[in-house]
């Protein structure tokens, strides 16, 4: 299996199986990190608007995605 040291730019790999799988993995990881970071920001008193601005999305989008599961609307 590939290791971080033999990066073969899979994101641009010509084998769609490898390239697309990498994109999906990145998305999954980003989703996990987003949950952690949004939760942390809320605990530190950030408003939904501030979080939305930082993520570059609308307030509605970030609220819809995170507020219900976090139960701190």
């Amino acid at each position: 299996m590939a290791t971080p040291t033999d990066v073969t730019t899979a994101a641009a790999a010509d084998d769609p199986d490898i390239g697309l799988r990498a994109i999906r993995a990145l998305r999954d990881l980003a989703d996990r990190l987003e949950v952690l970071q949004v939760g942390n920001a809320r605990r530190r008193g950030w408003s939904w608007q501030q979080i939305a601005d930082a993520l570059g999305v609308s307030k509605q989008a970030v609220h819809k995605k995170h507020a219900i599961s976090r139960r701190d609307r």
Binding site: P4, V7, A22, R24, L26, L29, R32, L33, L36, N40
Partner: protein, 172 residues
């Protein structure tokens, strides 16, 4: 239909839900049925274990790709172990893996339904009365699930040969 399944086959299909829950999957994928089959005492479990696909090895391999795909991340230069260490340092043990654990009933993914359809098709063609765990294994290996294919490659097991064995003799 379910009454035609042997106890072992029924056990494996039921137990697949627990495998999905353990791996925090929101659906029962073919790999979860496969994991359950490695534990059953009958024909499927024997075939799998003889081919080197035991529960421990398969679980370890599956955890490399689900829920977070460490191998795929490595191909774009991300070391998931490092990311995990960093997030745990900031947010506590298990922070990165603390997604919402699936609760309640976990449903079968379409791919798993297709696998069971393959099983039913096989026993139909052969006019068999009983559907055993080996036939369930045949179905799982007949649907060309990308993750199952990949795990077999990692474990160095010949999927096609195993599928033919799983199809079994009519006397099974």
């Amino acid at each position: 239909m379910l009454e035609r399944f042997t106890d072992e086959a029924r056990w494996a299909i039921t137990h697949a839900q627990e495998e999905a829950r353990t791996l925090r999957s929101s659906r029962i994928e073919p790999v979860h049925v496969l994991l359950a089959l490695t534990r059953e005492p009958g024909r499927a479990g024997q075939l799998l274990r003889a081919a080197g696909v035991d529960h421990e090895r398969l679980t370890a391999a599956a955890r490399r790709t689900a829920p977070l795909d460490a191998d795929a991340l490595a191909t774009v230069g991300i070391d998931l172990d490092q990311v995990r260490a960093a997030t745990e340092a900031a947010f506590g043990p298990g922070a990165l893996d603390r997604g919402a654990p699936p609760s309640g009933h976990i449903r079968f993914a379409d791919a798993s339904k297709h696998a069971l359809a393959q099983t039913v098709g096989l026993v139909g063609r052969r006019h068999l009365d009983r559907i055993d765990a080996g036939h369930v294994l045949f179905g799982v290996l007949a649907v060309a699930d990308p993750l199952v294919d990949r795990l077999f490659q990692q474990l160095g097991t010949d999927l096609d040969a195993l599928r033919e064995q799983a199809a079994g003799s009519d006397a099974a």
